[in-house]
Symmetry: C2
Amino acid sequence: MGKTVSKAKIFKKPGHDHGRCIKSALDMAQSLCAARGARLTELRRRVLELVWASHRPIGAYDLLDKLKAERHNAAPPTVYRALEFLIELGLVHRIESLNAYMGCSGPDAGHSSQFLICRDCGSAAEINDARIDAAINNLSQDAGFSVHHHSIEVEGRCPDCRSTR
Amino acid sequence: MGKTVSKAKIFKKPGHDHGRCIKSALDMAQSLCAARGARLTELRRRVLELVWASHRPIGAYDLLDKLKAERHNAAPPTVYRALEFLIELGLVHRIESLNAYMGCSGPDAGHSSQFLICRDCGSAAEINDARIDAAINNLSQDAGFSVHHHSIEVEGRCPDCRSTR
DNA sequence: GAATGTTATGTTATATTATAACATTTCCAT
DNA sequence: ATGGAAATGTTATAATATAACATAACATTC
Ligand SMILES: [Zn+2]
Ligand SMILES: [Zn+2]
Ligand SMILES: [Zn+2]
Ligand SMILES: [Zn+2]
């Protein structure tokens, strides 16, 4: 179909319809939980929604602040337990280098965490490149190492920030 | 020559001469600092030595405890500042997923952080595979993302732990 | 070799991130 | 409705990291 796709649109444009991103994420979460027999409670659903409020990783205590605005009794365990649940199901990834969390864009695949993270604007984009997975698996196998999961975090500048100056 | 190298010896055997690992690391640090005009003070040198005490990542506060045994006035900034210096020079890597630190086995190359980490014994092995670098760079370029550095942390089981049962 | 600026370390306090432990509530199946 | 399991509430604390300012060590120039 033509050669229109030279650069994958991995980073979302600032002006995009983010409501749809959120909606889609919540829908996927809904059906994934149903399929797994997991309970997507109001709290968990809301935390996922807050995580998805932007395309930037968000910290647990930032989430807590937002939660407190609507649940007077929210406390650290409230948000950490919800995150634990969401991560367990693959709905959220933890960004190790930032101590922050981000919604997964393809939660049904059961993949490891791979992100490009902009050091200027803080936005992050999830990637899932077969070449990288293959390279890691090959290399691990050569080393006699059995892979459980991996985390890849690439820090740099996103297309938007690069074009801005 | 020949075909002796089917499995790279990435993970060190428990019985190896670790004194040589340490010696080599300190020597490289010495010359690298000289080349860069950086001051490898007694404190920094000692922290690097402590980091290299094993092939396992070590936490800042574990380092601090060891330091305290010989420097009554060691405090968190003592170790964090030394680590900052060592990381800056590429002599130490930070393992994000563990909040821990590990000596770099090839500090002159100026590479990003790539580790295989055993979930059973806690040992970690640094890797530097050209395929992985290439995959990350290609993919980033396709996405219009300019890479500053990256961190790869693969969790799994090391050869030793696999053979043990 | 004193004066001066710079870098490194000491020192105290506090910020940030995360978990432990136990009580209570909600949910669901019987 | 009742008992057991899962989720949430609640309080306290652990673990990791940095801010801010004071002093000491080092190097450079005069
Ligand atoms: Zn994902
Ligand atoms: Zn950006
Ligand atoms: Zn290295
Ligand atoms: Zn092991």
